[in-house]
Amino acid sequence: MSVEPLLLTLVFGPLVGATLAGLFGRRLGDLVSMSVTTGLLFLSCGLAWDVFCGFWAGHSHPVTVEILPFINVGDFHSAWSIRLDTLSAVMLIVVTTVSALVHLYSWGYMADDPSKPRFFAYLSLFTFAMLMLVTAADFMQLFFGWEGVGLASYLLIGFWFKKDSASSAAIKAFVVNRVGDFGFALGIMTVFWMFHTIRFAELFPLIAAKQNATWSFIGQDWSALDLAGFLLFIGAMGKSAQFFLHTWLPDAMEGPTPVSALIHAATMVTAGVYMVCLLSPLYEHAPVARSIITVIGAITALFAATVGLAQNDIKRVIAYSTCSQLGYMFFAAGVGAYQAAMFHLFTHAFFKALLFLGAGSVIHGMHHEQDMRKMGAVGKFLPITYAVMVIGTIAITGLGIPIKGMEIGFAGFFSKDTILGAAYAAGEHSPYGYFAFCIGVFAAGLTAYYSWRLIFMTFNGTAKWGEHADHGHDAHAHDDHAHAHDDHGHDHGHGAFKPHESPVVMLIPLFVLAAGAIAAGFVFAPSFVGEHREAFWQGAIFTAKSNEVLEKIESLPSWVGYLPLIVSVLGAVVAIYFYLLREGLAKRIADNDGPLHRFLYNKWYFDELYQAVFVNGAKALGDLFWKGGDQKIIDGLGPNGFAWLAGFAGRQLGRIQSGLVYHYAFVMLLGVAGLLSYALWAFAH
């Protein structure tokens, strides 16, 4: 069977679902809309696994299917196409699997929402855009998908648009992403300016020849490849919420939890990592840009982990954790271990989606309570959720036994240790490697602490939700959308409140993801980063001859493998001490409100800084141009000035129009005299 119809179904199935549910959702009804979108997604998912298994087993080969021409202007050629190689196949399964599970999960989570067809249409639309992004064969389609997921993200964050905080979070996400997209667009233009093509297949072979191309700016020559790489990375920073452009991601948690799991954990935010890996032929020749990626990634990993320590909203903790893990992926790519970055992306998708959906299950069971300070002892009531959340936490903290040759551990163990090992190996050539390694190890400890803290605060200890009779009102004030949930809440009554386990449709995705979080590591590690990697990637990721970080991992001293384990166990022990053995101690520390806690709790004051510098600055600049430039100068001298002048002249003319005949005659004679003078002058010339 030809691969073409299969791929078309895979990519365009979600679009069909989105169109049907989006345009005809009201007519089709909730059930049909949900069934169609979910069914098509599972179909896509099945096809994606089929495709991926072909690559995994090694009997599929890269292929590009051109569907339609898009833009043909001068040298600028772009086509709608589906590029299939190992890289895009990995992304295909990540996207479709998580998306399909999230679709299913939403049956339960969104059961009481009045606009289900719209929700499912947005989810499917997002999936389609993401598939376009990962299958792009040129920058134009990549950009299309890039903007498409941005749009879907905006729509889904603001899904409960009646809630002010959701609307502003959606706008914030969109605006911050514009900053990144601006850099991304400039990067694409730089690539086109240098190579006169934006097709990856034509572009990549040309790059090596341009290694030394320079670009003159402010009297200095800059490497043009580094410039292109840096600009494109700015786009990745926006999409993947890296340091400086990260502020939108925590706020994006205003969206429904399934959305957070799909978009803001597993797929869209990893688009930046995917792009950097896809452009490995470029970044291999852009050492400066790669150093920047390494540093930014490492700083993000540390920054987000520290902020995660002090957050109390269950979803925000996971959001900062995502941000931090994305930092890991970026510095992995930055030190040249693209395969490790992709591997971590892959495993992270499972355990992070699991954590989010588990958190969603808790929120669902707690009647839309998100504050961990008002939870505790929930584990008794949600045993299944508790179990899978623990699995996810073990996976993210990278617990495992790093004995060479017989590593045992959950998914995160394999990918994270590979990354840290690669960073250490890269340290031989550049200080940035060691820098990333040190930060990575330290952040691993923090990760363990805040991840276990989340588990203990939520599931263990004493119940704090009984003391607060007003929790229900709080929750509803927090979630204005939840008019449908009111009924739901009243069933249990506010007095006799009891958390409850989620329905089966929500638990099935948790089981599947838990299986992934356990097994994805040791099953796929040999292919992604191990001995089979050459055969597996089939050249989809380019590594220069001098780049041997992955080879060197084998020969690293064994303490490099044990150190992360020790650190994360330490983090876990501290969490146990604070939240299990001496419960209440952490609360007292937080209530003391020391400067460090305040600094972390307020997310390093980034929002305040941006508010002061960019928002207020832009406002002041806008006021200057609007009130000073536009109203006073342009309007004053332009439209209003002329209007005043015309009115003034009209009134003067009216005064001459006295009604007296001799005045009129006088004007006529003046006219004769004037015209005569003018005519004498005109005739003489």
Binding site: A646, L653, M668, L670
Partner: protein, 478 residues
């Protein structure tokens, strides 16, 4: 050329003269029926004259003093039609005003006769006779409501200033005759070659000034707002339409046929008058509250645009001028018909505030006024847009005229304000009270003109364009 053929060429005017005299007698003896009878007789005569003019032989009569050519035929059809409409509108109006004197149609007939002679004038003498015949009839018409002080004042003012302008014109004509040795346009053209002598320049400028008064171009426009406001509205409707066409065609004929070698020179003088008119018309109208005064300023501005076409001094420019006049005459007639149709408690609604909320009271008329306003404003694809389009196209394709064209465009933006204010008042302000039922005659004309402005103008352009071009060729400029 024999007298027979000369009389054949002058057939339409002879018919009008005979009809005017005959209808005077009929009116004197037909008692209470006089007004109706004489009015319909006059309209019949104007219709017949238009038909005769359209089908009559072309050529020169009375040794070139009377010319019948494409231009004169084109102008006569419009003039007679517009005069007929003025009688149609005026008859019922005067009856309702209690002033049903049958002299009204006769005077319009005589004015039309004068206009017919103006457009056929090939000689300074016949030029003057035509102008005076037309003017005298119009002076009387302005003061037709003898009991109305404002009407009498208007008539008197018009007469006094008209006499002054006639003096200027005659002085200019005599200078030209003195320096060129002939009163015939063709002979003057033969005598004036190369750089014009000082005397010719003086004569030409005085002549231009006299004619500028007749078309109410600035700075000879001062009479216009007062006379428009004071004169009975049907007379104002006539004043703003037919005489303007006649005077413009005469203007063009004198300049093109008597001074064909001095086009760049007179073009500059006419451009100056055109731009002053456009400015005065646009700015003066901004502060007007009385609709008739507003339309007076509007007509000053629009004559400015017509003069811009003439100032282009080319065949295309003259064609543009003729197209402009036709389309403008229809718009302005429609406008005045709307004013004639509107009254409240027996009193005409002549001020801007009185139109408030008209769309709720008289939607048909309000829409007609809206269309006509937008048309005069120059909004595509209404007729006024095409009128301005022709003029500006001719102006920008004449070397050296581009700045003038741009200036005219800018001023048309300023003038747009008062047309838009009319629309705003009608559509968005609260009405002041019920209006009287509009009379059928005025309403018919109003709606007909509005329908012509849009959408009938689109097919009509296809017919008018070649006719105007043929008429413009008759002036003999390249």
């Amino acid at each position: 050329m024999g007298l027979d053929s000369a009389l054949t060429i002058a057939q339409p005017e002879l018919l009008l003269a005979a009809a005017a005299l005959g209808l005077l007698v009929v009116g004197a003896y037909s008692g209470r029926l006089a007004m109706t009878l004489v009015s319909w007789g006059a309209m019949l005569a104007l219709g017949a004259a238009a038909v005769l003019a359209a089908n009559g032989p072309l050529g020169q009569a009375f040794k070139g003093a009377f010319v019948s050519d494409g231009a004169s035929v084109f102008a006569k059809v419009i003039i007679y039609a517009a005069s007929g409409v003025a009688i149609f509108l005026g008859e019922r109006w005067l009856v309702r005003a209690g002033n049903a004197k049958f002299e009204y149609p006769v005077l319009v007939l005589l004015a039309a006769l004068g206009m017919g002679m103006m457009v056929s004038a090939g000689d300074l003498i016949s030029l003057y006779i035509g102008i005076e015949l037309q003017s005298l009839a119009l002076y009387v018409l302005c003061a037709f409501q003898r009991d109305d002080a404002r009407a009498s004042e208007a008539g008197l003012k018009y007469f006094v200033l008209g006499a002054l302008s006639s003096g200027l014109l005659l002085y200019g004509a005599s200078l030209i005759y003195g320096f060129a040795g002939s009163t015939r346009f063709a002979d003057i053209a033969g005598a004036v070659h190369g750089p014009a002598s000082m005397g010719i320049v003086f004569g030409l400028v005085f002549l231009i000034c006299g004619l500028a008064f007749k078309v109410s171009a600035a700075p000879f426009h001062m009479w216009t707002p007062d006379v428009y406001e004071g004169a009975p509205t049907p007379v104002t409707a006539l004043l703003s339409a037919a005489p303007k066409v006649a005077a413009m065609v005469l203007f063009a004929r004198v300049l093109a046929q008597a001074f064909p070698h001095d086009v760049p020179q007179w073009s500059q003088v006419v451009t100056a008058i055109a731009l002053i008119s456009v400015t005065v018309g646009a700015l003066g109208g901004l502060v007007q509250k009385n609709l008739k005064r507003l339309l007076a300023y509007s007509s000053i501005a629009n004559i400015g645009y017509a003069l811009l076409g003439l100032a282009s001094g080319s065949e295309a420019g003259l064609q543009a001028m003729l197209m402009f006049m036709v389309l403008y005459v229809i718009d302005v007639t429609g406008f005045f018909a709307c004013l004639l149709a509107l009254s409240r408690g027996g009193k005409p609604m002549e001020t801007l505030p009185s139109l408030a909320g008209l769309v709720r009271l008289r939607p048909g008329l309000a829409i007609a006024i809206t269309i006509l306003s937008l048309s005069v404003l120059g909004l595509p694809p209404l007729s006024g847009f095409w009128a301005k389009f022709y003029v500006f196209k001719a102006a920008v394709s004449t070397p050296g005229m581009e700045p003038a064209a741009v200036y005219g465009l800018v001023m048309s933006v300023a003038a747009a304000f008062y047309y838009l204010r009319i629309i705003k008042t009608m559509w968005f302000d609260a009405p002041e009270g019920e209006t009287d039922a509009p009379p059928l005659d005025a309403r018919l004309v109003a709606l007909g003109c509005a329908a012509f402005s849009f959408p009938l103008v689109i097919p009509a352009l296809a017919v008018l364009d070649p006719l105007a071009l043929a008429a413009a060729k008759a002036f003999g400029l390249a």
